[in-house]
Symmetry: C2
Subunit: 168 residues, 2 copies
């Protein structure tokens, strides 16, 4: 656990700070599907939608990360959660993404989800792939060339999955 980190539900007062992290994350073009050109209003309506259950990670009161958890499919697929995570570059290397992942697994379990699936984990983002594996996810499939990487062109994307049976 990282000292001084608190993860709490996000509210409108956090939008500007999360937006700054989002812009930083998408600028690299190597991990997230969103591209430059997404507006603050579009982002806010998406990430802060109530059914996304947005959370923020605070370090000494400052927003250093955010995640969302939601149903991966409607109706008959809605018992499987999906989550997305972002960490401020200045705060990386402190285990914040891992903390958010653990938090999201417990939170998803408390919301009644039975499993969690990531649909498009960029295969070249090996740091992320290893982090999710460390937190119990396994690669259950790979979509060939499904991500257009800013530097590398079309690269593979993994589908990663874990049950939540072991989550307390």
């Amino acid at each position: 656990m990282t000292q001084g980190i608190a993860i709490i539900p996000a509210d409108e007062s956090h939008i500007a700070a999360v937006w700054t992290i989002f812009q930083e994350v998408i600028a690299a073009g190597d991990a997230y599907v969103f591209e430059a050109g997404t507006t603050l209003d579009q982002f806010g309506a998406y990430w802060f939608a109530p059914q996304f259950h947005p959370q923020v990670a605070l370090l000494d009161g400052e927003v250093v990360g955010s995640y969302v958890v939601k149903a991966n499919q409607p109706g008959r697929g809605s018992h499987v959660a999906n989550a997305s995570y972002m960490t401020a570059s200045a705060a990386r290397g402190r285990g914040i993404a891992g903390m958010m992942c653990e938090h999201s697994l417990r939170y998803a379990k408390s919301l009644g989800f039975r499993a969690m699936q990531f649909n498009i984990v960029v295969a070249t983002n090996t740091v992320a792939v290893r982090l999710w594996q460390k937190h119990g996810f396994r690669i259950i499939g790979t979509s060939p060339g499904a991500f257009r990487h800013e530097q590398l062109g079309y690269v593979d994307a993994h589908v990663m999955f874990r049950e939540l049976d072991d989550i307390g």
Copy 2:
């Protein structure tokens, strides 16, 4: 090819007929994530959204099927298409689903997509799995228990994929 079948872009005049097929398809609870309780307004706003490019299959002028094709992900994942198909039960066994699939592959190619992915093909729906395989899709992964089947409970769902390189 089935005699007398035409596939054309859907417009508002087709909503009622497609809605009837949709209700029939979801009543079984064995293939589609949508559940009973979806309203006509919700369905119309979803299936007939412009970015879904809705199409209908007509047999002697009557709507016997419908499909949509859209980007499976935004931005850096938007070169992979996703499609959904429905056939009226009274018109099954005539190859209409296969015709719609072929049509959707050519249409997706014409829209600039490089590949097509299905995210949640119910594993117990072996007729559909074999049909998509016949049309060039392969199973690239399986989400354990990701579909809540009306009769069978939680069953696996396949991710199926094909490139569009060979489509004219």
